[in-house]
Subunit: 775 residues, 2 copies
């Protein structure tokens, strides 16, 4: 299983295990479960951005025929927690309870109803009378942090779950500041200093399947939570906590999922649905409408970023000073970790810059709540860095590709700022072992036609073209925090059942994990039957986030399969009299040193299950990593800017990405294309519009303007192969990195075309026109 080994299943674009079912409409999502007597739940949201609930009358709702339960803060446990489904303790402020007597954003929960039909539930909501004491609201994070701002969190039992600067009384949800070297001295000594302020906007995950939970009971009275979640095991813990029942009373089952992108790393619906089921002892369904997804689900955190860079006389970067103010909305979900990531996933790419400072301040405001979102802070940070690097190159008169080439981190190098940013837990190593960025730059530039197109600004009437680029990195799992585990057993016919806590969100990770197991076991991928994930049946896994599944859960699968492999070889040695060391697995059989099959896996299975010294060949393993090896990427965009209308069209997009070994190249391309499309929409059209009172004005796909198929340019993915020594068969992650590119690459391409720097996202026609006018 070395780099040298000729891979047979890993590295092949095998068809997704669930492709046929998905194509034929057979895939079973949460809402496809048929449960007789299912109740339907709805949640009443606040019409005010900030208010105290003075009086609440649910009696008319309760009296409505067909209503089985009405819950609010008066009849549910007050358990302070967070909706962020992360490690334990959850590294977000514990500032949230299922229902509170205060609302902190428009749509914040007031009450919930379970009824025989959805129509009755909706009618019941309309019968609930709430008397609010409206409070002054604040929407701007810097204003929220300033003196005299209304205090959003005044509950005495809110607290920071981990040691961090946290002062809800002055709307401070998290604060972090680190420095390596001496940034002020470097700035003072610099030949040139570049300073820019960026605003990066809120975004919706816009997953096709909105969050949905169905709670039921098993026949021993335990709660069975079927839910579209990225984090089944965290959901189990949080539901138990919210209901104040033991974890053993809760089983969380993850059906197929129609996309998550971080939005289903939040445990939002599950506790409400579970409380309603627990109260009624009936199965209950609770799903978000699309409008509710926009208004009440989590969002990408908006940030205001101040970036300063210093360059010495030789044109070398000497300092980076990155300062972030993050808007977390009404609750502090991921307040610390997303803000940290804006530094820790961005600054290490310029590891060679000796002086780095990073400060992030997360504010509460009365807007929808920020949360995990693909890119997780890095997206925001790369916008700022990518644009400033482009600006520096222009100012220094060098090719920006060369500027990146000169300064980016190399294999073998370690990142001090990463360590300083609290990711330096004992044992965590931020040494880069594999880096394909030089090849990404070469092949990406070649593919987009960089040399021919850059700076040429071809014009066609009012439309001018330009090209821009950026370099990126991300991580692969959270080192020493994330953990995956797997078990795998051998069946009669030489097939295997692989049980993993890892959670396929539609990414194809089940297929990737099956390929890893199949490679270890010398079988075709169709011989590996994957079941993921169910807290009763599959081993623990932290869940699908932080680009961890292939790298970390895949590592667990590789180990578990290796454990089964050892058992198979031992049995085969006993069966054949061959020496264990000479045996290998290939093509569904145990082979001898000459590669010829000695016994098939089915024969080994039948022997071990039925014939002699019977035992179930079954491998188990857990896996953590002390590293979070970054994938690298170079993105190149070609755009056309219409100077008359301000409309920006992306004509071509190249993403060259080093994800180590692409276990399934087609799926890696799919992840990259999806992320780039996601990023293009974010860069050009997608945005929340609010009225002056914190109400979302455009809570629909049409109003929010996610791109449709016709809006998407050709996205070309170039997989640059490296070998990550800590990853399964050399693999790193690929799922998040792609979204970090479009904002800076498109901004830089717009500059290349029309000479204006866009620093406020998204780049709407109005903003482009306004920038052109100011040119």
């Amino acid at each position: 299983m070395s780099a040298e080994r000729d891979l047979k299943v890993v590295g092949r674009s095998v068809t997704k295990l669930d492709a046929l079912g998905l194509a034929c409409g057979q895939a079973r999502y949460t809402d496809d479960v048929v449960i007789p007597g299912l109740l339907h739940a709805k949640i009443l949201g606040s019409p005010h951005p900030h208010a105290r609930i003075v009086a609440l009358d649910t009696s008319r709702a309760e009296a409505l025929p067909g209503v089985l339960a009405v819950l609010d803060h008066r009849n549910t446990p007050r358990v302070m927690r967070t909706t962020a489904g992360q490690g334990f303790p959850e590294p977000s402020p514990y500032d949230y309870t299922t229902f509170d007597d205060k609302v902190r954003f428009v749509g914040d929960r007031v009450a919930a109803v379970a009824a025989q039909t959805e129509a009755i539930a909706c009618e019941a909501l309309s019968l609930i009378r709430v008397e609010y004491e409206e409070l002054p609201a604040v929407f701007d994070p810097e204003e929220a942090l300033g003196p005299g701002a209304p205090v959003i969190h005044d509950e005495p039992d809110a607290r920071a779950a981990i040691p961090v600067e946290y002062e809800p009384g002055r709307n401070l949800a998290a604060h972090v500041k680190v420095e390596v070297g001496d940034v002020e001295r470097a700035l003072a000594a610099a030949e040139r200093v570049f300073t820019r302020r960026f605003t990066v906007h809120m975004a919706s995950h816009a997953m096709l399947e909105p969050p949905i939970t169905i709670c039921d009971f098993d026949d021993t009275g335990r709660l069975v939570v079927r839910t579209s979640t990225q984090v089944p095991f965290h959901a189990r813990r949080i539901v138990a906590q919210a209901l104040q029942i033991p974890v053993r009373m809760v089983r969380v089952v993850k059906p197929r999922i129609g996309g998550g992108f971080g939005g289903k790393q939040e445990v939002m619906l599950e506790p409400v649905c579970a409380l309603l089921a627990w109260r009624t002892r009936c199965p209950v369904r609770l799903a978000m409408t699309r409008e509710e997804v926009f208004v009440t689900a989590r969002t990408r955190h908006a940030q205001v970023i101040d970036l300063r860079t210093a360059v010495d006389g030789g044109g070398d970067l000497t300092a980076i000073d990155l300062k972030v103010v993050m808007n977390n909305g009404g609750y502090g979900s991921h307040a610390l970790t997303v803000a940290c990531n804006t530094g820790s996933k961005v600054l290490p790419i310029f590891n060679r810059v000796p002086n780095q400072r990073f400060e992030a301040t997360t504010a509460y405001t009365n807007l929808p709540v920020g949360g995990a979102y693909r890119g997780y802070g890095a997206t925001q940070g790369y916008f700022a860095l990518g644009v400033v690097v482009d600006e520096m190159a222009a100012a220094l008169g060098v090719d920006v590709v060369d500027l990146w080439r000169r300064h980016h981190i190399r294999a073998g190098e370690t990142s001090p700022i990463f360590a300083a940013l609290g990711e330096g837990r004992a044992g965590v190593v931020m040494t880069v072992d594999s880096c394909g960025l030089p090849e990404c730059l070469d092949r990406g530039a070649e593919a987009i036609g960089w040399a021919e197109k850059r700076g040429r600004r071809p014009r066609d009437g009012s439309r001018v073209r330009g090209v821009g680029m950026v370099c990126l990195m991300q991580g692969s799992s959270i080192p020493e925090v994330d953990m995956g585990a797997a078990s795998i057993k051998l069946n009669d016919d030489g097939s295997f059942n692989l049980l993993v806590g890892a959670t396929d969100l539609g990414t194809g990770s089940d297929t990737v994990l099956a390929q890893i197991a199949a490679e270890v076991l010398g079988v075709g991928v169709e011989q590996v039957l994957v079941y993921s994930s169910d807290t009763d049946l599959t081993p623990f896994d932290v869940g699908a986030y932080a680009s961890s599944t292939t790298y970390l859960s895949g590592g667990a699968v590789q180990k578990a399969a290796a454990d089964a492999r050892r058992q198979i070889l031992a049995a085969a040695a006993a069966m054949t009299g061959a020496s264990l060391e000479e045996l290998d697995l290939a093509d569904g059989a145990v082979v001898g040193p000459d590669g010829r099959p000695l016994v098939t896996l089915s024969e080994v299975a039948l022997h071990t299950l039925y014939a002699h010294n019977q035992h179930q060949v079954m491998g188990i393993a857990s896996h953590i990593s002390h590293r979070s090896p970054p994938p690298f990427s170079a993105h190149f965009a070609e755009v056309e800017v219409d100077e008359e209308t301000g409309v920006v069209r992306v004509l071509d997009y190249v993403a060259a990405v080093d994800c180590g070994t692409a276990v399934n190249p087609k799926l890696a391309e799919g992840q990259t294309e999806g992320a780039v499309v996601n990023g293009i929409g974010y860069a050009l059209t997608e945005r929340y519009l609010f009225d002056g009172r914190g109400r979302v004005l455009n809570p629909s796909f049409g109003g929010y303007k996610i791109p449709c198929a016709a809006d998407i340019p050709p996205v070309r993915t170039i997989l640059v192969s490296t070998w990550e020594p800590t990853g399964p068969f050399g693999a790193k992650s690929v799922s998040e990195i792609g979204i970090n590119g479009p904002l800076p690459a498109i901004a830089n391409a717009i500059f290349d075309a029309v000479g204006v720097r866009l620093t406020d996202a998204p780049f709407t026609p109005e903003r482009v026109l306004s920038a052109l006018r100011a040119r």
Copy 2:
């Protein structure tokens, strides 16, 4: 975990894990699964006991609106196999295929239909035109084996799955003959020889839930077979074999089961239901009606038993000659193994008798098919032996209790006849390590009032009372054939998920297995969540038969829990700095040498899952046994015989049983009471009535006369505790042994009351009257 250890959970009558759900009607059986679009299947049975299908016209059935598929021998694979779900190769003749062009008993399969409703399916059956060539039929096994009998199996592809004397051409389904010592010489030298012929009748399992299967597809197109089975893993193999698809395409799920008693060790419905689902690509339900259970499901094999015993001048038994002719009906399900068991579970109890001979011959006839049935041949054998021992004691003028006491096998003794009977596979040891029979005899005799009642024959008008008894043994699993496996993982709150392939049929075995795990892990039984069984998710287990679950699957659970225990202690040692050797588990915590808790299991779980060196604490183990330790039992019955009507009433029944450690005494009592009631019905009222053409005349509970609550005497169970060193916490089996007692104990009590020996079962009023008249 020694005998000395103070047990905290094992040995306690904890409530069945599923008791509340069962009591509240929440338990989910196969038929409780809700599947939209479910088709309903019915099977057309033969009206003839023996016939060739000359022509078959299904066109009208196929044309009926709502009919989706009609299957028969012309459009289904011909795969010769057996319906017996046992080991691999299955130790029964491979004389069966899903549909054949010949029928061998009334009700034998001709065709099957899947339709939108059950009514349409029934109508479709009526539209199938079958032209039969009727063949001469034979119903008596000795006649069937004789010259000139019609040949029932003439298909060239039938074969014996294991090396055994097997000649379908002369209706010989199996034959075995073994001898230890020299029986003929002993008989010749004997002071007295006792000779009797017994007939033991066919019986229905009469499980409350008739066999039922629902086949569906998962969203990758694999077949999901939900079925009321004792043998999920064997069912998986047999379904795959019958459909000629890889095992990996089949998942078998066992919901809750409403009783099996061996009848669900047969894989009867699954292949038909699966073929219909595979053909229609729709979910299909196939269930037996009660009538179909009687006519087409398996039965207890009827036997004709010839028994001769020899006694020397000192009153010692010197020889036993046991000769069995077994009626297997139309197919050879369990033909060899049940017949063997009539010797191997019966003769070893008189291991001290030096000369033993056993011969069994299994015949095909045109009657319903024999199969596994609680007691599995031993029931028949103990009837013969128990009655003859009683007769010998009377003839010798000794107390039969003393005769048993003198001759029964002792702890430390080995059984040569057991070894000779082919159970002497390499490594199998038939040494008795624990034997509580002396105490069973003492306490049972005391409880029934043996000394006061035996031979007294108190009379009340025409009603006379008497007492009778018998000694019994059985086994605990099939040594070196059966295998169990388990996995167990630790959850956040210190609870555990236990996955076992073992199959709870309603016996409470899930609870017993949870107790074993809980004992090892120092937690309450409610902390162990059991999931059994599902071929995708649980480790392999041969299934619930041969009294194996507590002993064998329990052994696997004990080992898996011990594996988890080691991991927990290692983690706790690392957490606390304590020395590993000093640590123990108790009351949900890791305790130090002083018994004081150092860390709770929840703390260990949170530490290992989230905090440091993260891993899923998870134990796995497989278990086989080289022994099949016999439970022992002494049964005592008091009856009242009405000399006018011939009606026999059981007034009192005492079953003293040594099952080693009773893991859950209440459940062990339940097993014993159930088995005794089952046996009393079998002894007195239950029987099949046939017309002269092999048709069952009484296929209903009322006609077949299973006892109802009012018919049941007090059954008193005395658990005699021994410590079986090879069993989990000293446990042996208890599930089957109880049914072996009532036939001989009641027959002997009738003799004690009215002086007639009944040797043909059941002891109906007609037979009793007839015997009384002949007295």
